[in-house]
């Protein structure tokens, strides 16, 4: 009995110790996460203060910053600040990054790592103002086996040489995924990508057309309605996207090409389109040529449920 008690005590202590270690690890993890976040926020504050100051930062201040923060935190802080500013202040960020060796750090890390880690460092690099030599440097990653590395290398090239953006986009070897297009739209808002959507919408390249549609729907410009009708009539991968882009700019859907496309859609897709059109605030009259009687009734009831005149007052 005594021996059993000793054994059970040891085993119990082992179990308790394991649970204690696990509990401790959870707490350590939380503490580390909080400490890192605090350090990052502190670094962002200091960088923002330097960038927003009346005078350009001196080298001694930048060197002090480098002493205080590791390159990983500093690169993230600088990219965070760079994301939220534009114009002449952006070159201050570039100056700090140049002096603190962030460009070299990111290039080195991209070279050392593989796959998504490499993509991460390239994504960080793309947030800074870049000269053309960086575009040439990342050209070797355009043949990487990972699609995200290829994409972020491509983004770095776009940032480094924005004049050739349209040519590069047209020559991109695959159709861009929605999140990648959103990344390009973000570059556009920063001024690193073309903003004139008309040549994009008229292009033969799928990627350019998709980007053009995203630009048009993002800015809600109704002048591109006829171009979107043309894309709807093309009957290819981009037609449905063009229909949704048309809906988001509240363009006219009473068009033959739109009608033909809607007729070819499956029942769930048509129902989804109904919900989207109702959400965008289309009237029953505007869509009556697109939908059958049951769908029109559904659309009407759905529209009434939004009660726009009351809710949006």
């Amino acid at each position: 009995m005594e021996r059993f008690a000793d054994l059970s005590l040891d085993t119990m202590m082992a179990v308790v110790a394991i649970l204690g270690v696990l509990c401790l690890l959870l707490n350590v993890k939380r503490m580390m996460w909080l400490a890192e976040r605090r350090l990052r926020l502190q670094a962002i504050g200091e960088v923002a203060e330097l960038v927003g100051a009346a005078d350009a930062p001196c080298y001694r201040t930048i060197d002090a910053l480098v002493e205080r923060y590791p390159s990983s935190i500093l690169s993230e802080a600088l990219s965070e600040v760079a994301e939220h500013i534009c114009g002449i202040r952006l070159y201050r960020v570039a100056m700090i990054a140049e002096r603190s060796g962030i460009y070299e750090y990111l290039q080195r890390k991209a070279a050392c790592n593989t796959s998504l880690q490499r993509a991460r460092y390239l994504a960080l690099l793309a947030k800074f103002p870049l000269s053309r030599r960086y575009g040439d440097y990342v050209a070797m990653y355009l043949d990487d086996s990972d699609s995200r590395v290829r994409f972020y290398a491509f983004v770095v090239q776009l940032v480094a040489d924005s004049e050739a953006a349209v040519r590069r986009l047209a020559a991109f070897d695959r159709m861009l995924a929605p999140f990648e297009l959103a990344t390009l739209l973000y570059l556009l808002r920063r001024g690193d990508s073309p903003i004139a959507y008309t040549p994009l919408l008229c292009s033969e390249s799928c990627n350019l057309r998709m980007l053009g549609m995203m630009v048009a729907s993002h800015f809600g410009d109704t002048e591109c309605e006829s171009l979107l009708h043309k894309i709807v009539g093309r009957d290819d991968d981009t037609s449905v996207e063009a229909l949704y882009a048309l809906a988001s700019i509240r363009g006219s859907v009473a068009h033959d090409d739109v009608r033909h496309l809607v007729n070819r859609l499956s029942a769930p897709r048509r129902r989804s389109l109904c919900r989207r059109l109702a959400h965008e605030g289309y009237s029953c009259k505007a869509i009556e040529s697109l939908l059958d009687t049951h769908e029109q009734q559904y659309f009407e009831e759905l529209s009434n449920s939004y009660k726009r005149p009351i809710l949006c007052s």
Partner: protein
């Protein structure tokens, strides 16, 4: 000494398992870190991907407030309220968000179970939809019928979402054509899955390993309560040093561990192995980061 050796062996085993699991899920972890860089993008709409979050019979108004803080723009929150039991909550919701009753005839097939559909008059809460139902069993179907967007995120009661959690899922979903659904993993290994309204949900599921993206309070409380009780019992057994007390404490530990496993499994709806692997792999990742930081500080000191 034997005990220390056993402990060291177990810790080594944990590290080994962690290394293996971490290597296996390296891509997901890296994807998560990539989205960390792109967090500004997570606030922007990705193509036509919209998410309707469904919360069934919430206990408090704070759960709704938390979900309304989601930063991804194309989101909607559909809340169902049991008309028999949650009248007080409904009144508070109507008062707080200035909600008015609207028509609900479009809820085909579920209309008979719905007592009322409410939308907010305030522009800031346009994404909030409250449904008053009579039958709790049909709540999810009713909520899906009322949802606007094509992707449904069923949020369990008691879950607290990070503001970027939906954005991360959408980013993962919009990153490749082949992915049908995606989700985030919590600290306890439970998952929140973004489901398309139609189609096969079991094709191409990808999980973003994001331990703090969301957490469910119930398994965490169960875990910490069990650990606390176990430690307390063990301390008692050590102090008394009686064989009978030790045996009783040992049995109690066993029962508690079993209860904890069952609770974690039932509440998170995932196997214990998954929970364990999530905890271990997070630990392994952090250990690597910690070692890197120590080495950095050491080099800096030199």
């Amino acid at each position: 000494m034997q005990l220390i050796a056993l402990l060291l062996f177990i810790v080594a085993l944990l590290l080994l398992v962690g290394a293996l699991v971490s290597a296996w899920r390296r891509r997901d972890i890296s994807a998560d870190k990539l989205f960390d860089v792109e967090h500004t993008l997570l606030r922007n709409r990705v193509a036509n991907i919209g998410v309707s979050m469904v919360l069934l019979a919430p206990r408090s108004i704070e759960a709704i407030t938390n979900l309304l803080n989601t930063l991804y723009p194309a989101t909607e929150l559909v809340v169902t309220i049991d008309s028999h039991r949650q009248n007080a909550l409904l009144r508070r919701l109507i008062e707080r968000y200035a909600m008015i009753g609207v028509e609900h005839r479009h809820l085909i097939g579920c209309n008979s179970h719905v007592t009322g559909l409410y939308r907010s008059r305030r522009r800031a809460f346009r994404q909030l939809v409250v449904i008053e139902t009579e039958e709790a069993e049909m709540s999810f179907e009713v909520a899906v019928a009322a949802a606007t967007y094509d992707h449904i995120l069923r949020v369990p009661r008691g879950a607290v979402l990070e503001e970027h959690a939906v954005g991360r899922m959408v980013a993962e979903l919009g990153s490749a054509e082949s992915i049908a659904t995606t989700g985030v993993v919590s600290l306890t290994g439970a998952t929140l899955q973004l489901m398309p309204r139609t189609g096969d949900n079991n094709i191409g599921i990808r999980y973003v390993v994001r331990p703090l993206a969301w957490y469910d309070t119930r398994p965490a409380y169960a875990l910490f309560a069990a650990i606390g009780i176990t430690l307390g019992t063990a301390a008692l057994a050590l102090l008394t040093k009686e064989p009978l007390a030790s045996a009783a404490a040992m049995s109690l530990c066993g029962v508690l561990l079993c209860a904890m496993c069952v609770a974690a499994r039932m509440l998170s709806q995932k196997s214990l192995l998954r929970t364990f692997s999530a905890v271990v792999e997070n630990f392994y990742e952090d250990l690597l980061v910690y070692m890197k930081k120590i080495s950095y500080l050491y080099l800096r000191k030199l």
